[in-house]
Symmetry: C2
């Protein structure tokens, strides 16, 4: 039985999907319509009590929170597909560290930009130029740290591609695309090389193809 | 050489400290004065480029982000002290899931309350009753999910104490203490029993004693 991924229209689900492709785990996607509030229906809340996406079902095992799902599959299939965790305990610690940085430093300002620029009509908010300016400044400072880090190592956690890099794919794809902030990547030499490398992986191209259908 | 924990005055560092006590890892604490901006000094930024706390140094290995540090020590010393990860791969997945819930659902509204009620003078913000009301409502909804979950299992990830429970200790201690929201725990039978149990662990009592000095 293949893994079911609920919510393929959301960025966090793309994070799970690219991980499953890297780990060579078969999956199918189950649409959940956020616009009609399907994620708040009693049936869905049995799977995810907070009404958030994505959720996976693997046989009778259910798991939510995208970064928890990444860790589960990276660990469960450690020797299948791409190793996304690092070889030594210390490398693995650094993968966890940069995965936390993605969640707590990188995502919040970028999500604000995305919400203001791409989703303001859906979210029922009025576009606020001050929030856009502040979020862009915050994101710029985070990317300055990335630039330093990536001048020392090819990927965030070291010289190996890992969950830490993979977790950045979905939102950065929006950032360089519809959010219109590609210049923030391009003006930073090492960040730019890193982005070119991770976004051209066959796994990510496959996910982009899947979600464009 | 014992582990160095920078920033013992902040809640996230307490999370690391209680983990090290559970894992029977010796450590010493290194004060970092946030009020004088020591965490933004060039020397400190070499350890933690975002200027956040805590950071650990273990010999020549440096790691930041409290939940990454928890995972590192829980994995490195899996068979020493309390097992904080769960026995099966599926249990470990649930530990990761609830650890993410703590970070993304539980902490944000509680941190807002803490900031408004305890830290408004330090943070240079004016206390906003509307933010307090909304944060309390959000936190209440999260605790309702916890109440359901804890009616089915003794701890968040199952019938074993794990990183997922441990990560809640520092901010919940503030919540029932200086933030003045103990009633939100007490009025939920299973959350209340869970809190009584995890907060009376010798490890947490030891950390409370260390930070009260």
């Amino acid at each position: 039985m293949v893994v079911k991924v609920y919510g393929p229209a959301c960025a966090s689900a793309h994070r799970v999907m690219v991980c499953l492709v890297e780990k060579e785990v078969e999956f199918e996607t189950i649409p959940v319509n956020i616009l009609t509030g399907e994620h708040k229906n009693p049936e869905f809340l049995k799977l995810q009590p907070f009404g958030s996406l994505p959720v996976i079902q693997d046989g009778d095992y259910t798991l939510f929170e995208s970064r928890a799902i990444l860790r589960y599959y990276a660990e469960k299939y450690k020797s299948q597909g791409t190793d996304l965790l690092g070889k030594t305990m210390e490398d693995q610690g650094l993968v966890q560290q940069w995965l936390e940085v993605e969640a707590h430093n990188f995502q919040p300002p970028l999500y604000n930009l995305l919400r203001q620029i791409m989703l303001s009509s859906h979210c029922g908010i009025t576009r606020d130029e001050q929030v856009i300016k502040e979020s862009e400044e915050k994101l710029g400072k985070v990317l300055d740290v990335y630039e330093d880090r990536l001048s020392e190592s090819r990927y965030l956690a070291g010289d190996f591609f890992s969950l830490a890099d993979l977790a950045h794919l979905p939102l950065t794809e929006y950032m360089v695309g519809p959010v219109g902030k590609a210049y923030m990547i391009k003006e930073r030499k090492h960040v730019s090389a890193w982005w070119d490398e991770i976004s051209s992986r066959p796994s990510w191209k496959k996910v982009l193809e899947m979600i464009s259908k």
